[in-house]
Each structure stands twice: as structure tokens, then as C-alpha cells.
């Protein structure tokens, strides 16, 4: 029911938005039109593509799960103060975004590979080494995607008015209930954005995955890896596979679109 007349800002926003949208839409349009649609249909039903699709879903949802499980506590902790320690941790968490993915993959291998301390322990306990396993694709995807989750959620937590938490405490709500019933619902936009960014990044990740998890059809070859493989022999197919990847995320985003409804 609120109306604001048109203003210079409105016009400028509209203009710049149009430019921005064009900037993003043109490349997408370009690959959509150049994709080999007829071949895609048949590819979609091929076993390797389906396997890759499945692995992609496993690794990206796994990454989101890990991100929420570990990233939420981390974000809570980071948002609590601005001590030097937290600054350092925040920087460490940001680094996977900056590092070239190959380097990130090497770092993962060095830290969790067979010949690393942790990796050796892991192999002793669980009987298999992390690299070249499906679990490794999840770890790689989480390593690359989680920073986005952590930083988004931290921003949300910092913007949260702590007086609502006080109110909840005064009503007898312990830390768990405060977290579940007040904090999480109130930082919903950031939480959602964090999950989205993490999911998208994990879904598209391949350099670090290839380095850390390898590239074996059926166990570690996710869709982006299949894409990279196809790029070597059949760039058109690679574009096609990328579009399958894109459709996957579009489907997820479309399902989630209603959760963007503003809170108030």
C-alpha cells in the first residue's frame, strides 16, 4: 500500500539494474543458445552423466550439511567479539575463497592425504584413506563452500538485535531454545543466503575436488568434473553438461524461491 513516486534514484537504480542484469544474462543466453540441446537429452539418460549428477548432489548437499553443522557454531563464535584471535580465524576461513582451487586442493591433500598426520590416523581408524573417495568430494566441496556460509551467517548474527535474545532469556528460554526459536528465525535472510552461496559454490567446485578427491567415474567424478573431462574432447558437450549443472541449481533455487518472501 506504500507508493513512492519516481525519483532520480529510482531511475538510476532501474538503469544500473538493467545493465547488471544484461551483464549476467547475456553470457547465460549465449551458452544456452549454443548448447547442443538435442544431444543433451540423450546425454541426460546416460549412466555416466546420471552418476555424475548423483555425485554432485551428494557432494553439494553434503557440503551444505557440513557447513551448517560446523559453520553455524563457527559463525556464532566469530560474531561474539572482535578479538585478534577471531580476526585470525576469520582470515583463515576466508582463505579458501582466495586460494586458487588447485592450491586449495593441494593444501587439502597435504593436510588430509594419505601421507599426512591426520590422513594416516584417519586411515588407521576407518580403514580407508580420504582422498579418492566420495567423502573426499564432500570435504573438498565443503572446504570451498563453507566460507561463504560462515561469513554470510556472521553478518546476519552481527545485525541481530541482541535485545530479542534477552527477552527470550527472560522468558526462561535457555541457549538452545534461544538459538532455535529466536536467533535462527530472525537471521533467516542471511542463513538462506549462506546456504545458497555454499550450495552453489559446492555444486560448481571442481579444481580442488579433482586435486583432493581425484576424478573416477562413479565415485568421485561430479558433474563439473565430467564437464572438465568433456572440455578436453568435446567442448560442446561440456557446455551442455554445464547447463545440466545450471538447471540443477535453478531447480533448487526455484523450489526455495518462496522462502525469499520478506519477513515483515
Amino acid at each position: 500500500m506504500k507508493r513512492r513516486s519516481s525519483s532520480s534514484l529510482r531511475v538510476l537504480v532501474a538503469l544500473l539494474t538493467a545493465i547488471a542484469v544484461a551483464l549476467f544474462a547475456l553470457p547465460i543466453l549465449a551458452i544456452v543458445t549454443s548448447a547442443p540441446w538435442s544431444r543433451l537429452i540423450e546425454q541426460l539418460s546416460s549412466v555416466p552423466v546420471q552418476q555424475a549428477l548423483g555425485l554432485s548432489l551428494i557432494s553439494s548437499f553434503g557440503a551444505v550439511l557440513l557447513a551448517v553443522l560446523l559453520g553455524l557454531p563457527l559463525a556464532l563464535w566469530l560474531s561474539q567479539s572482535t578479538s585478534l584471535l577471531r580476526t585470525i580465524v576469520r582470515i583463515i576461513v576466508t582463505l579458501p575463497i582466495v586460494l586458487p582451487p588447485v592450491t586449495a586442493g593441494i593444501a587439502l591433500l597435504l593436510a588430509y592425504g594419505r601421507s599426512s598426520l591426520v590422513g594416516a590416523q584417519f586411515e588407521r581408524w576407518f580403514g580407508f584413506s580420504l582422498p579418492f573417495s566420495t567423502a573426499a568430494t564432500v570435504v573438498a566441496a565443503a572446504y570451498m563452500g563453507m566460507p561463504f556460509f560462515v561469513l554470510s551467517v556472521e553478518a546476519g548474527l552481527r545485525a541481530l538485535d541482541p535485545r530479542y535474545l534477552d527477552a527470550a532469556a527472560s522468558l526462561g528460554a535457555g541457549p538452545w531454545r534461544r538459538l532455535w526459536s529466536v536467533t535462527l528465525p530472525m537471521i533467516q535472510p542471511s542463513l538462506r543466503t549462506g546456504i545458497l552461496l555454499c550450495f552453489a559454490r559446492a555444486l560448481g567446485e571442481y579444481c580442488a575436488t579433482q586435486m583432493f578427491a581425484g576424478n573416477l567415474p562413479g565415485s568421485t567424478r561430479t558433474l563439473p568434473l565430467a564437464c572438465a573431462v568433456a572440455m578436453e574432447v568435446d567442448p560442446e558437450l561440456a557446455i551442455g553438461l554445464s547447463l545440466i549443472l545450471a538447471s540443477l541449481s535453478i531447480a533448487v533455487l526455484f523450489v526455495l524461491r518462496h522462502s525469499w518472501t520478506p519477513r515483515r
Binding site: 534477552d166 527470550a168 527472560s170 522468558l171 526462561g172 530472525m186 515483515r264
Partner: protein
């Protein structure tokens, strides 16, 4: 069950230094000027801020001793608090807001929602149970906040201006309802208010907080018959002067003198009812021992009278009938004679 607050607490410019006890079944009205620390005091009692020194005891058990070790967090104190700014959860309906405290105490979802609905009806908000706070009016939000605090039947009740936004008509009902509820409630309760009527109707005892210190406590009668500061006098609508009694006259700081009847000599405060201030066009000849000319600053119509604000060296308020205003032609700017009988000036040593 009783609450003992005896602590120091510094927050920005405020230096709160308190020693206050509220007994089980007693309602204390905490009144005082803006920024005197009332809200801070309630928050300390609630466990939302911790004290610097001293102790907070509930029924003998330490809730906070300033060291952090004994600090009992808010959620374990079993309090009910109405915040001055409501603080309704914006993502929950009115009903869920009220049910929140019940749920936190382990009551099932269904039972909690039922109780919440009953409380909302009691507050006259039966139709608004499903509304989110942003679509409630100010007064409705405040009533939801009140319901939320009361519904969980806490051990300790802390109400920060719980009726400030409630309309005049509902306020009478709500005040009565609240009085009944408070009487039935076993624990200590503190109510912060700027409304003298609220304080008088709801409280057994009044504590006046000014600049972080308790300057006066007492029953409503004691306070209203013997206000010790200008704030209290203003609260109950009396004229107030502070000065030194010498030779049966109260000398004010600015040199003005009021003839009084008092055995006491030295520092004292004096009050008089606005109705005991008489106004004349000419210098009055007769019994009033105090009389001086002063300009009228403002006329404030009250219900069945008019309050005449008078300036000059001893500013005060006179209460006259509307008929008097008309017949005397009182108006701002006019200089008139003020007359007060010495016996009407109540002097108390300070």
C-alpha cells in the same frame, strides 16, 4: 520469597547504587525521572545485565554477587518482565509470543497455545491472536507483552511501564485486572511507572529513584503526604520548595521567603496543594501571611478545574475553577497577587 537488591552498577553516565528489598506478595512501584536507572535496575534483577558489586538475593539465594561466579542467567531466574519497548518477537504471532514463555517451561505446544489464547482474550485481544507484532497497534503490542510476562506465572514480576501505551478506557480495566492478578501472585513484584494513579492503585509501597539513588521509600500514603523531592511533588501534583527555615520563614535559594509555621530550623522542604493557592487582582488584605505579585505563565485546563502556572521568584501552580478564570479574566502574561496561608505550607526538615 523476597527480593533484595543491594548493588552498585555503572552504565555510561549512570552510577546506580541501590539498596532495596521487596517482600513476597508485595508490589513495589519504582518511580523516578527519565534516566534515573529504573530500567537498568529491573534488568539487573532480571539477570540481563550483571552488577559490579553487591548482591542480588531472591528468597535468600544469590542471583548475582558481582563476581560472575554466582551469576544466575536470566533464563534460570524464573522472572516475568515487561520491557519498556515491548520486544515482541517479530517473527511470531501474538499468540506464539505469549506461548513462548510457557513452551520454555516445558509446557506442550497445544496447552501453551491454549493458555496464550486465554491470556490474549483477557487482555481484550482475542481477535488478534494470529497477528504478527508489526500489524498490532502500540497499545495492543504492549498488552501482548504484558500477557507474555504474566502467562508463565513467574516467581518474580518486573513490569516496566506496562500500561504506558494502553488507552484510558482499557487502562482502567487493565489496571483493575492487573491489581487483582498481582494480589493473587505470591512473589515479589516491581512496577515502573510514570503514572501516579498506577503507582497508587497497584503498589503497596513506592520507591523513588533519582540519579541512580533511592531518595525516598514508603507507603503510598507516606510518600504522597510527605514528598521529599520536587520530582515526587510533581508526580502527585503538589507545589514544592526547598530552602532553609530561619525565624519561621523558608528562605529559598534565590532569596525569596515564604512565611511558614514550623518548629524546625535549618534545611527543609515545603509543599502546598495547588488548591490552597489563592489569586487576587489587588494585594489581599487579610489572613494569608504570604502574598506577592507574579506573572501568569500558562493556563492548563484540567477536568473540572484550571491549573494556573505562575512564574516569578517562587514559581508555583494554583488550582482554580473555570468560573474563576472567566470572572477574573486570568490569562498568560497578566500579573496577579498570589496568597498562601502559612498554615497551608507543609514544612519538613531535610
Amino acid at each position: 520469597m523476597s527480593l533484595h537488591l543491594r548493588f552498585n552498577l555503572n552504565r555510561g553516565p549512570l552510577q546506580l547504587k541501590l539498596d532495596l528489598a521487596v517482600n513476597a506478595g508485595e508490589t513495589l512501584a519504582l518511580v523516578g525521572p527519565n534516566g534515573s536507572g529504573k530500567t537498568t535496575c529491573l534488568h539487573a534483577a532480571a539477570g540481563l545485565i550483571s552488577i559490579d558489586h553487591g548482591t542480588i538475593l531472591l528468597n535468600g539465594a544469590v542471583l548475582d554477587d558481582g563476581t560472575g561466579n554466582a551469576f544466575v542467567p536470566a533464563e534460570q531466574r524464573d522472572i516475568g518482565i515487561v520491557f519498556q519497548e515491548h520486544r515482541l518477537f517479530p517473527h511470531m504471532s501474538a499468540q506464539d509470543n505469549v506461548a513462548f514463555g510457557l513452551r520454555a517451561h516445558g509446557i506442550g505446544r497445544k496447552a501453551a497455545r491454549l493458555t496464550a489464547a486465554a491470556w490474549l482474550s483477557r487482555m481484550g485481544l482475542g481477535d488478534f491472536a494470529a497477528e504478527k507484532p508489526h500489524s498490532l497497534s502500540g497499545g495492543q503490542a504492549q498488552r501482548v507483552a504484558l500477557a507474555r510476562a504474566l502467562a508463565k506465572a513467574p516467581r518474580l514480576l518486573l513490569l516496566d511501564e506496562p500500561l504506558a501505551a494502553v488507552d484510558a478506557s482499557a487502562r482502567q480495566d487493565l489496571r483493575r485486572d492487573l491489581a487483582t492478578h498481582l494480589r493473587a501472585f505470591a512473589g515479589p513484584r516491581i512496577i515502573v511507572t510514570h503514572d501516579a494513579v498506577d503507582a497508587f492503585v497497584l503498589a503497596d509501597r513506592i520507591a523513588v529513584l533519582e540519579g541512580g539513588r533511592i531518595v525516598q521509600t514508603g507507603t503510598t500514603e507516606a510518600i504522597s503526604s510527605n514528598p521529599r523531592t520536587r520530582y515526587v511533588a510533581d508526580l502527585i501534583g503538589l507545589n514544592f520548595f526547598r530552602g532553609v527555615v530561619r525565624d519561621s520563614a523558608l528562605e529559598l535559594k534565590n532569596g525569596a521567603r515564604l512565611i511558614v509555621v514550623s518548629q524546625h530550623q535549618g534545611n527543609a522542604v515545603a509543599t502546598m496543594h495547588p488548591r490552597s493557592v489563592a489569586l487576587f487582582h489587588e494585594q489581599p488584605i487579610g489572613s494569608p501571611r504570604n502574598a506577592w505579585p507574579a506573572p501568569i505563565e500558562a493556563l492548563e485546563p484540567a477536568l473540572d478545574s484550571v491549573r494556573v502556572r505562575i512564574g516569578g521568584q517562587a514559581p508555583l501552580v494554583a488550582e482554580v475553577t473555570a468560573a474563576t478564570v472567566a470572572s477574573m479574566g486570568l490569562r498568560p502574561g497578566l500579573t496577579i497577587w498570589v496568597a498562601i496561608k502559612a498554615t497551608e505550607v507543609h514544612v519538613r526538615p531535610e
